[in-house]
Symmetry: C2
Subunit: 462 residues, 2 copies
């Protein structure tokens, strides 16, 4: 008998689940309907700052797969501009609002995938419809922002609120568009996604680019002119003139609908799922992507890490399981990379403050090296920081800032951390060496050696 899978949310997690399920079960076995409230499926939100900055010239390049592809090649009934407004777990049905037809539709399900993503955090001051204020979550957000930049009275002063990954990327994009940029950060430093001693390198690079950075600075209000357009940002450090404001102060799991339907919500605000991405306690109901919470493999604690790479993996796992296979999502270790101006910034595992919060005692080391043999053309400096548990030497975290061929070096550290390696074990790792790609001691190995020395100084056993 044909079963039916309903998917709520047509982005990375939802469409990965749908297409993986389809790979295992044909249309005779599984009918698949996907509801998406927006106009697109499976697009790269991470690419929006590069589109706005002009590095990517066409919105459509950010769309990985179009609805037609899902319909024609995967026999998935994708319904755009359909916002799901209710889930009835007892009746096993979903109610959606079809924006084009202006009516409600009701569909039953055997399997349900909830993949509604995340919603931008909206402080009270951000709850306004005034012109010139933008988020950067959807392609529509990006298009609206670009249209604003192209107005007859071209904006000249941008204020970017929030100095995380997206804020920093958007500040750079605004510079590339020729605007003057002020970046407002509540914390003592932008990019608090790395430790302060590494973040200072990022800060310097942003300043070099001409960005005016205001730290320890909290936004209190937006000032709007007579034409209902933003005119300034009011902060604890005074008023900042602005004719365009980008708000990137974080996101939270989009769970209103799920919570109303009785889904279990975890301490992070995300939906609770098991290893196979089944919603805890609900039969035939799955969730994946930015709306769920997952486990940090190092601390064992629940975390909410809204990243496309996890959403894709989780969606794939859900889809494989729905299709009758067996797959699990093993958790995360906090790996992230980003490009800031001419810097590559990467991290994995715990920051110092996170390691402290988790109750670890640890040593930190930092080394300076290069991406290639020092004598090889194109050799560029790179800083590697390691955090290792004080007694065992187990790697707890790593951060890298460099200018070239630096960011993806975090991967070998991530795999080492994933496998609970100690820095002593890591110092012996057989990594690739050739002058165009590394010094004879790779920066990763130099850092591991220094960490071994620091651990031994702390535990004099030899």
């Amino acid at each position: 008998m044909t079963q039916r899978l309903l998917v709520i949310g047509g982005d990375a997690a939802g469409m990965s689940a749908a297409s993986q399920a389809r790979r295992r079960l044909g249309p005779d076995d599984l009918e698949i309907i996907a509801f998406e409230r927006g106009n697109f499926t499976s697009y790269s939100a991470c690419g929006i700052p590069y589109w706005i900055g002009g590095l990517v010239d066409d919105r459509d390049k950010l769309i990985a797969r179009r609805p037609e592809t899902f319909r024609d090649e995967y026999a998935i009934d994708v319904r755009l501009r359909h916002e799901v407004i209710g889930i009835d777990l007892d009746k096993r049905e979903v109610v959606a609002h079809d924006a084009d037809a202006g009516r409600e539709v009701r569909e039953g399900f055997d399997h349900l995938v909830y993949a509604a993503g995340a919603v931008p955090t909206k402080p009270p001051w951000a709850r306004t419809d005034a012109g010139g204020i933008f988020g950067v979550q959807t392609l529509d957000d990006g298009a609206a922002l670009l249209a604003w930049l192209d107005r007859a009275s071209k904006p000249r002063h941008a204020v970017v609120i929030g100095g995380g990954y997206i804020g920093v990327e958007m500040a750079e994009a605004m510079i590339q568009r020729g605007l003057s940029v002020t970046l407002v950060e509540r914390d003592s430093q932008p990019m608090s996604t790395v430790d302060p001693d590494m973040g200072v390198l990022v800060r310097d690079s942003l300043v070099d680019l001409g960005i005016d950075i205001r730290t320890d600075c909290t936004v209190t209000d937006l000032v709007v002119d007579g034409g209902d357009r933003v005119r300034a940002v009011r902060t604890t450090e005074g008023e900042l003139p602005a004719d365009i404001v980008v708000v990137s102060v974080g996101v939270r799991p989009n769970t209103a609908l799920a919570a109303a339907a009785g889904f279990p919500i975890g301490v992070t605000g995300g939906i609770r799922v098991d290893l196979r991405m089944r919603v805890v306690g609900l039969d035939g109901v799955w969730a994946a992507g930015d709306c769920v919470e997952t486990v940090h493999r190092l601390t064992g604690q629940a975390v909410h890490v809204p990243l496309g790479t996890h959403a894709n993996k989780q969606g794939r796992v859900a889809g494989l399981n729905i299709g009758g296979g067996y797959a699990t999502f093993p958790g995360v270790i906090g790996t992230a990379v980003t490009k800031v101006c001419d810097l590559e910034v990467a991290r994995t595992g715990l920051l110092e403050r996170e390691a402290e919060e988790a109750g670890y005692q640890f040593v930190c080391v930092q080394v300076e090296s290069t991406n290639r043999a020092g004598y090889f053309p194109g050799a560029q400096p790179m800083t590697v920081k390691l955090i290792a548990e004080r007694r065992s030497g187990q790697l707890l975290g790593a951060q890298i800032v460099g200018r070239s061929e630096a960011a993806k070096r975090i991967d070998s550290l991530a795999v080492a951390l994933w496998n609970y390696m100690t820095v002593d074990e890591m110092a012996g790792l057989d990594l690739g060496y050739a002058p165009p790609y590394a010094p004879v001691w790779d920066p990763v190995l130099i850092a591991a050696r220094k960490a071994v020395d620091a651990i031994h100084a702390d535990n004099p056993i030899s």
Copy 2:
């Protein structure tokens, strides 16, 4: 009482051992003498092809540390142009020939580090003093070759014999110097350090560069003219004109002296050492670098892998132990990277033929992807191949060929293999993702996923 450490060989392994021992013990505790038969200490042999090709403009840039540095900063008595000609383990003394003074010197030791490196394989036809025939092992080799290129009658036709890493690098260097180049390879393909299906990409790239490749071709003799200069290379496929010949047909452990003194020699021809780099069965005697054999962590078999990165690590381990510390060298997994024309080539673990020889049954998968998000400027193609054990899915080997930001991706695969991960575990790895550095599924993860599918097709458990 002051003890004495004698080091035989002043390159990576020997000088790493000496300087690490010095870091732990001052001159009052440990006197250190290093004998080096050549003119340099601690140089990058791996950099010689780039110096010859002109990418590195100065020989001295290849010297990591000069004798004066060791003398002044490490209090190590470095004796250049001293060839050790005898080791007496009973008397615990070494006899060296001082080439400048033309006499023998004799020194006793408490600790001995044997780090005599490797010597080039010399087929019968290579045993000639005729002009125009060069190896590329030492800086003196490189200088002689460069001088030959600068002769009044400039050489125009180069024949490079041997298509391994160094042969391929030297073929490219000769092209960069404006010569026509023929590469002679005994095997069916150059770069047999990767599987044929990956090596064909390298071959194509060499051909595009204008290199004439002769495979399944064995050298039988060198033809010399009246002025005792090389004129041609005679092969099983006919005579190849040459006014310069580069010989790179491999190296073997330099153990003549050690074997004569009674050191144990293993099946690979390398000196047998334990985890701490102590020569098996000999008290206070250590060996490190290209002259020793080590263990392959995957097969457990003895292997001889002459690479600077291992030599440095092994030297460090020996030095730490001599200095009273505790360190071990954990073996190798066959990681290697190289640049061939515009290609980056990398491998770790076992090739297909090596996995067969080791008695494994396995699946192979190959995927095409890109180094960055497909829409991001500078995205370049990359091919990743994985070899996984058929039943467990354990990663046995990986190879990468790409055009940019490809080679060092082998490191995350090397760490996964080092930790005996299965491809199923690898598909869930938390690797770095951002559009400038990877597609949302890194090529490494795409390959792992495909390998999971191949394993499951072979073991239908779900």
